[in-house]
Symmetry: C2
Subunit: 201 residues, 2 copies
DNA sequence: TGACAAACCACACATTTGTGTGGTATATCT
DNA sequence: AGATATACCACACAAATGTGTGGTTTGTCA
């Protein structure tokens, strides 16, 4: 399944507005889109919709008011579940997206989208903190965190782990929640902070 | 906050249809409701909407197509989070509903509604299974379960606990996941099976 | 230069959709 | 008996909304 194709800035804006309105429960009419974006002609809006449909981002039903849908290619309000993260310097490059988790009001409150992702937990290094192999960890991206926070951290070998952040004499290190694992004093970079854990049986 | 007031069977049907359509993303038009329910006049549908609005279950915007909303009193696709459950014989009587969890596709798959609820976990009796104090346990109601399932069970003293179900020589008992707690051999009744655990930090 | 797409607008028109008025019939409660 | 609620229908009409045709301008690519 491919990802979102190239969009012009305005097309992006139109799409975002549609997303926003759908998120608020009621998809917009053509005229509502035009009004928001400052278009004086419904024809203009239809041109945009045509473009978005052609790019596979939007679906419509004929002659039905507000019948605008986003396709699966628009991962609206969804958080990617990642197996492996190849993390370059400034931004994460999601490599192995295993699926999506819907960012629902009650679990997370409506979040911004770009700053949250999910990790499938591997191994038992955090069992004593009640985080088991296979759990889904929801992470909020952040370049730093506080003492005792559980964080997703990038190690020197390009590996990502979930560990507890500890400060000792002003210096940070990582600790597992399992006596079988030694603390990590190597160089690392905090990617984000754990905000939620989900486990399915 | 009160609960759903009395509805006539037909009003119930209208409400359900609206719920269904909203769940499918696009609220219905007045004529669509009429068509579904077999009404030949739009006036009839408006009478029903008027009734539902008066009973505080529905909100509308004037002159806007499909602008039908459900109010908070209709807990659509939401699972009650329960503190204490007073469980009579056949049905649970939710006593202390602390809030609602949105039953989202990706966490639970679209579920039927009446057969799922959530418990806020108290105590540390399941820590070794990675279930901590304060976690939200999503339970699917069931009168029985299998060996090794974690279940919500009703004890003789009318208390509800989350424990692991064990069978030994054809006889079931409950086990904590914490050595400080002895197994429970008293009489108990299985209320439901644990399907998901959610923890927020 | 010509073709093409992006980015617009103006309108006319057809449908869809919401609104409003005015009915009928049945049952319940006072 | 009269008031009230449920449970419908038929229309007419107005507003909202989608469709379609035919433009203009600007820039890019070949």
């Amino acid at each position: 399944m491919e990802n979102k194709p190239y969009l012009t800035p305005k097309q992006e804006k139109v799409l975002n507005f549609i997303q926003k309105r759908i998120g608020e429960r009621l998809p917009p009419t053509i005229r509502e889109i035009g009004e928001e974006l400052g278009f004086k002609s419904t024809g203009t809006v239809r041109d945009y919709l045509k473009a978005l449909i052609q790019k596979g981002l939007v679906r419509r039903m004929n002659n039905k008011s507000r019948a605008i849908e986003l396709t699966e290619r628009v991962n609206f309000n969804k958080i990617p579940i990642i197996g492996t993260i190849m993390a370059g310097k400034p931004n994460l490059a999601y490599e192995e997206i295993q699926g999506y988790v819907d960012a629902d009001d009650l679990f997370l409150g409506r979040l911004g989208f770009d700053d949250v992702f999910a990790l499938r937990v591997k191994g038992d290094s955090m069992v004593d903190a009640g985080i088991l192999d296979g759990d889904i960890a929801i992470i909020k991206k952040r370049p730093n965190a506080e003492n005792n926070n559980i964080v997703a951290a990038l190690l020197d070998n390009n590996e990502v782990t979930l560990k507890r952040l500890r400060s000792k004499a002003g210096k940070f290190h990582l600790e597992a929640a399992n006596n079988n694992y030694p603390p990590i004093f190597e160089e690392f970079k905090v990617i984000g902070k754990l905000i939620t854990v989900i486990r399915k049986y």
